[in-house]
């Protein structure tokens, strides 16, 4: 039995070594919220890329370097102590929008699956990028936060902790919570 499993494990190991695998299906999440406050005010809350901890309740602290320009970085420490490092890809002050991607994450836990140790990342996704945009709607505003990503497991037949449903639920929870937090702060 062991002899049969070993080559399989070796093959799987090659796959898990990937930083940016493109399995066949990328996932998306898009959430929108209407906020009863002017767009400039809402934008004022989120405009500094490094200040996410001041408005998102799931983010405990955030450190930043580089500022609001392409290449600027922030490291989020989540409430559970896990970290997510993100980098600005696009910053559009006039359009009240910015795009970023996750470049690194801490490991929540390691699971053994198909004979291989798999690291489950802080956000159970791979190759994640997102855009947040504030759009004026008369005296109010509409905020859209959309994300594109793959499940954390890049090989075929994922374990539950790293499958698409888990990835989608985690992203939806993070984005929805953030938008509600933002609404609460901006409407004060």
């Amino acid at each position: 039995m062991k002899k049969i499993l070993l080559p399989l494990a070796a093959t799987l190991l090659c796959f898990t070594g990937l930083a940016n695998a493109h399995g066949p299906v990328r996932q998306d999440t898009e959430e929108t919220i209407t906020i009863n406050a002017p767009a400039e005010k809402v934008w004022g809350v989120i405009k500094d890329f490094g200040d996410i901890a001041t408005w998102h309740s799931e983010v405990f602290t955030a450190t930043t370097e580089g500022g609001n320009v392409k290449g600027g970085k922030r490291v989020l420490t989540l409430k559970d102590g896990n970290t997510v490092t993100e980098e600005l890809k696009k910053y559009d002050e006039a359009g009240m929008s910015y795009s970023y991607k996750i470049t690194d994450m801490s490991t929540v836990k390691t699971i053994n699956y198909a004979g291989v140790d798999e690291k489950v990342p802080a956000l159970p996704v791979a190759n994640f990028s997102a855009t947040i945009t504030v759009a004026p709607q008369g005296d109010n505003s509409q905020v859209t936060w959309k994300a594109g990503y793959y499940r954390a497991y890049t090989n075929n037949n994922p374990p539950e902790e790293m499958n698409e449903a888990t990835a989608n639920a985690a992203v939806k929870a993070f984005v929805s919570t953030g938008l509600i937090d933002l609404k609460n702060i901006a409407e004060k």
């Binding site: 990937l18 940016n20 399995g23 066949p24 990328r26 795009s99 855009t131």
Partner: protein
């Protein structure tokens, strides 16, 4: 002088001519998360029909006569066939469970389907859709192109950082050459002399001379490039940069960058209109397609599609 009957006949003729039952040119855009394919009429740049295709449609190949469209469906373990004249799903075919890259030979005799997980390319008879042979290639084969004379098949082996040249007579790998990191999309010129490999991880394009399978240049492009297409008599190469939301424009004579065009977010599949001048780009994140003018390097139009527009492969009939 028309009689009433003549007019009826005339109207009937005009009506027939304007129905979408003609062949090319159309663009077939796979919308992976919506499980469908948007059919864009290239004369009007309007979506004239949407065909439901289950199994997360990704790769696209249009038969040279414009009659059939093959759509790889990784989650349905194979591909779907659309009748292009009726704009209806014709049949589905099982190959294996990581089907992604797909292409039809210019002579319309064979269909090639790469399997991402099994590291193989299935060769099918296009007339009966039966598998003739399954060829083992490198790891995670992705983009496929066939030479204009149908004699050679080129495969991007993504995890092996290589491109293989396959003899379509013997159906064996003739030569494999190292390119940049994680090649995904391939483009071939109209003489078959050059293949361009788009390297996702090294953010560049490897230019291969196919006769000797030698790399003659590596050209830097934007972040996470995905696929490429040629236009204006092969003089310009257009490359989608997923992470930047841009298209790099390369002069194929000097092999240098001559322009950068902003499109939508996560541009993936890219193809050239039969006029050899207009370029179509599927913007995955924006659920639309940008139309570019290869001469002026301007975006001329944006066509709304659906969730997860991918259109990986040759999605416009040549």
């Amino acid at each position: 002088m028309f009689t009433l009957n003549d007019r009826v006949v005339l109207i009937a003729l005009l009506t027939t001519a304007s129905t979408p039952l003609t062949a090319a040119p159309f663009a077939y855009i796979s919308n992976q998360l919506a499980d469908n394919v948007s059919i864009i009429d290239l004369a009007t740049n309007k979506v004239v029909n949407t065909v439901a295709v289950s199994g997360k449609p990704a790769g696209v190949a249009v038969s040279p006569d414009g009659n059939k469209v093959y759509i790889s469906t990784p989650e349905a373990d194979g591909f779907a066939v659309i009748d292009a004249r009726k704009q209806q799903l014709l049949t589905t075919v099982k190959t294996s469970n990581g089907a992604l890259g797909i292409t039809v030979a210019p002579d319309n005799k064979r269909l090639y389907v790469a399997d991402w997980f099994k590291n193989t390319v299935s060769v099918l008879d296009a007339s009966n859709l039966e598998i003739i042979k399954t060829i083992t290639v490198g790891q995670s084969p992705s983009g496929l192109v066939v030479s204009p004379d149908s004699r050679w098949l080129y495969v991007a082996n993504r995890l092996d950082n290589s491109v293989s040249k396959i003899d379509t007579h013997s159906l064996t790998v003739k030569k494999t050459v190292t390119v940049g990191e994680h090649p995904f999309g391939l483009a071939i010129d109209s003489t078959g002399g050059r293949v361009y490999a788009v390297n996702v991880e090294s953010d560049d394009v490897t230019v291969l001379e196919t006769a000797a399978m030698k790399s003659i240049a590596t050209i830097k492009v934007g972040a996470l490039p995905y696929a490429a297409t040629l236009a204006l008599n092969d003089s310009r190469l257009f490359v989608t940069n997923m992470d930047d939301g841009t298209i790099s424009v390369i002069d194929t004579d000097t092999l240098t960058n001559i322009g950068l065009i902003e499109v939508g977010e996560k541009p993936e599949g890219i193809g050239t209109h039969t006029d050899d001048r207009h370029i179509y780009v599927a913007n995955w994140f924006d659920k639309n397609v940008s139309v570019l003018d290869a001469k002026t390097l301007q975006v001329t139009e944006t066509v709304k599609t659906d969730r997860g527009s991918r259109a990986f492969g040759q999605f416009i009939a040549r």
